[in-house]
């Protein structure tokens, strides 16, 4: 009996099945029609047809953020592939594992400016972890296997695989062989932290009088939140999370001192500024955290644990670098603490917590609700109550994103899904759809703004097709609020192109797409109508909430200042 031969298109599908893919997100076109034909003839995974390829990438991304699996995208050559670029960059900035299969014109046409030819590998080069130009039918399975391995190991990230049409068509067949246990001589990411560095780190931590644990998205990606919690409790240390790390330590944990950075809490930023040792775990000293790097925590010893050596000492010099997977390193640190029979310095801790509690008492993350316009923060609080803090909250980008981060304390990692690194408006809805697909029985909220929602609103149609009843909560301030806030604060209140005079009737729009629309513009009906919205389980509900357009996000770091130089309220410095 001779070994069966397969077309490249069949190999793509077989490889994806072999890698246990459940969903792929995509949009067809000339160069990938053979793959679509092969997808049609299999039942191992489902293809979700989006309405715009950018949304496919965000959907795959959201799916990945919620499940930890690799998100998979399929797009045709040329415009299909270039439409993926924003989504690839979004995933890259937040280290999300993703594989994008992009069609390409036939090998013989490459370089001729053929119809729908773009060099997607070239276009995406600065925003991928790696990419492959696939050129032979028999290479397809192992290239896809490698793409998955690279995407999810080490510091995760997106991988692009370019597939020319001529290696997919029925005329060219080859034997199928896939090696899912990938080994590469040029790529062996570190796993364990160096024992010497672990010892040094533990020495610094145990000697500290004012320790802060600053943890980021790495904790979420590495599923290390239980270990983080254990460390925080062992040390009884204060812990702050970055925007990407929210939920890494529960937002209601007594040692949680809030998010840090630009719109972080006063206590988090003050604790950083006054710390003698900062233990950074899977965080990367982003400029939205540090404020002016020259003024950043000059007196602190910095212990920096990260899987990516380039993140260490890139912006802020690390005194004790530890390269490794943060879950493994956390375990090593905990073991070392046990071994050295660590017991906390009670007096120092007490004093440190006393200081922190004084900053906490300022209650910097707070707002005033009068009985006229609905405050956006009030909406987030209502959302939190109604969903008992258990919803997946997928955000777009703007003021609403910060309000959600500040007022919805996330109990668990992966509950909070937002584009932190790239800040991509239009991310929220498709990301929420990816999450809903993975967790159909959970509340999945897309919190968004009147600007952001319109950047991928066409996906309302996909939601109907695949029955994805997410709850869209639009904090409608009739403006590009975050832009307007900066114009108010920095540009003399000149609202250049930051408000929109032609916002559609979102209720009618939702209805036109076959969904339920609810408008809320009175404070006294907020709770009841929102509750009603969340009670509708089998249909998508678009809740359009008219909020106070003048509200600014506070607290806010003062530009060029130190990490704890902050505006607490309008005109009030910390």
């Amino acid at each position: 009996m001779s070994t069966p031969l397969f077309t490249g298109a069949e190999m793509v599908v077989k490889a994806l099945s072999a890698l246990d893919v459940k969903y792929i997100f995509g949009y067809p076109g000339g160069s990938v029609l053979d793959i679509y034909d092969a997808i049609f003839q299999q039942n191992d995974f489902e293809h979700i047809l989006v309405r715009h390829e950018q949304a496919a990438t965000h959907m795959a991304d959201g799916y990945s953020r919620a499940t930890g699996e690799v998100g998979v995208v399929l797009a045709t050559s040329g415009p299909g592939a270039t439409n993926c670029v924003t989504g690839i960059a979004t995933a890259y900035m937040d280290s999300i594992p993703m594989v994008v299969l992009a069609g390409q014109v036939a090998t013989s046409l490459i370089g001729d400016d053929a119809f729908q030819e773009t060099d997607i590998v070239g276009c995406s080069r600065p925003i991928v972890k790696h990419s492959f130009n696939c050129r032979r039918v028999e290479d397809i399975p192992n290239i896809i296997a490698k793409a998955f391995y690279i995407a999810k190991s080490g510091r995760p990230g997106p991988v692009v695989v370019e597939l020319p049409k001529d290696i997919l068509i029925p005329e060219n067949k080859a034997k199928f062989h896939i090696e899912t246990n990938v080994k590469m001589r040029s790529y062996n990411p570190t796993k364990k932290g160096h024992p010497k560095q672990i010892k040094k780190a533990v020495q610094a931590i145990t000697k500290a009088k004012k320790l802060v644990i600053y943890s980021g998205g790495g904790i979420v990606l590495a599923n290390a939140s239980e270990l983080l919690t254990q460390l925080v409790e062992t040390l009884n240390a204060p812990c702050t999370n970055t925007l990407m790390g929210l939920g890494g330590l529960s937002g209601t944990h007594k040692n949680f001192i809030g998010m840090l950075g630009m719109h972080g809490s006063l206590e988090a930023n003050k604790a950083m500024a006054n710390a003698d040792v900062i233990l950074a775990l899977g965080a990367r000293f982003d400029d939205r955290v540090t404020n002016n790097v020259k003024k950043f925590c000059p007196n602190a010893t910095i212990v920096h644990v990260d899987i990516d050596p380039t993140s260490i000492s890139k912006t802020i010099n690390a005194h004790i670098p530890v390269v490794g997977l943060v879950d493994i390193v956390l375990q090593q640190i905990l073991d070392e603490l046990t071994e050295t029979q660590f017991s906390p310095d009670k007096t120092a801790l007490e004093q440190w917590w006393q200081e922190i509690n004084e900053w906490r008492a300022v209650d910097s993350v707070s707002y005033q609700q009068d009985d006229s316009k609905i405050k956006p923060q009030r909406v987030v609080e209502a959302m939190y109550k109604i969903t008992k803090g258990e919803a997946y909250v997928c955000s777009d980008v703007g003021q609403h994103q910060m309000f959600a981060a500040q007022y919805y304390p996330f109990a668990k990692p992966r509950q909070w899904i937002n584009s932190g690194g790239l800040g991509t408006m239009g991310f929220g809805l498709p990301a929420a759809m990816g999450v809903k697909l993975a967790f159909p029985d959970s509340h999945v909220i897309c919190i968004t703004g009147d600007g952001s929602i319109q950047m991928n609103i066409q996906e309302l149609s996909t939601c109907l097709q695949y029955n994805l009843p997410v709850v869209i909560v639009t904090l409608n301030n009739r403006s590009l609020g975050m832009v307007r806030q900066w114009q108010d604060m920095i540009y003399g209140g000149r609202h250049s192109s930051s408000y929109m005079e032609s916002i559609p009737d979102f209720v009618k729009l939702a209805e036109a797409y076959g969904h339920v629309g609810i408008k809320i513009d009175r404070l006294d009906e907020l709770d009841s109508k929102l509750t009603e919205a969340f009670e509708i389980k089998n249909r998508l509900v678009f809740v359009d909430i008219c909020v106070d357009e003048k509200e600014h996000v506070y607290p806010m770091q003062i530009k060029h200042g130190a990490v704890d130089d902050m505006w607490i309220k309008k005109g009030v410095k910390a």
Binding site: G122, R125, R185, S186, T310
Partner: protein, 165 residues
């Protein structure tokens, strides 16, 4: 400070563009770059001459290492090493006087004249960047340079130390 980095990487389509892209994307300086396959055809070796302080260099090395198809990178300038560059240069040699002068300078620098035209000499010279610069300067003094090309530097560590898989 000037540094010479030697990189060993998979000889695959796109691997050079990733290196070049990285340098421009992160605003790292490239003074020269040379690339060719090694004796093992599956590997390429790149030599990059660059400039930067310790902090920048640390980032360059880490960022290059992070590229999936890079196997190893080393900073040759960290220890004793040999550095060579090839110069091919065409100069005017119109009359006896200038021909003798050009020949004399070439000999002093241990270069060789590899081609002669009616009015030009073509000279080959190898050495480190300093030597090549000095040669160019001296020649320019004596005659007119018509064309020149430099290979960019390559380098190798002295002694037992080797860059290999």
């Amino acid at each position: 400070m000037r540094r010479i980095l030697a990189i060993l990487l998979e000889n695959e389509p796109g691997s050079l563009s990733r290196i070049v892209g990285l340098f421009s994307q992160r605003a790292f300086n490239i003074e020269s770059l040379t690339v060719a396959p090694t004796e093992d055809e599956s590997l390429s070796r790149i030599t990059i001459a660059t400039k930067g302080d310790d902090k920048v260099l640390e980032q360059i090395v880490k960022q290059v290492n992070k590229l999936i198809d890079v196997i190893k990178i080393t900073d040759l300038t960290e220890r004793s090493h040999v550095e060579r560059e090839l110069l091919l240069i065409k100069v005017l040699a119109m009359n006896d006087k200038s021909r003798t002068e050009v020949k004399r300078i070439t000999d002093i620098f241990r270069g060789s004249i590899i081609d002669i035209g009616k009015q030009v000499y073509t000279i080959q010279l190898t050495g480190d960047a300093d030597k090549l610069n000095a040669f160019l300067k001296t020649l320019a003094h004596e005659t007119e340079i018509i064309e020149s090309v430099r290979s960019g530097c390559v380098g190798i560590a002295r002694g037992e130390k080797a860059l290999r898989v």
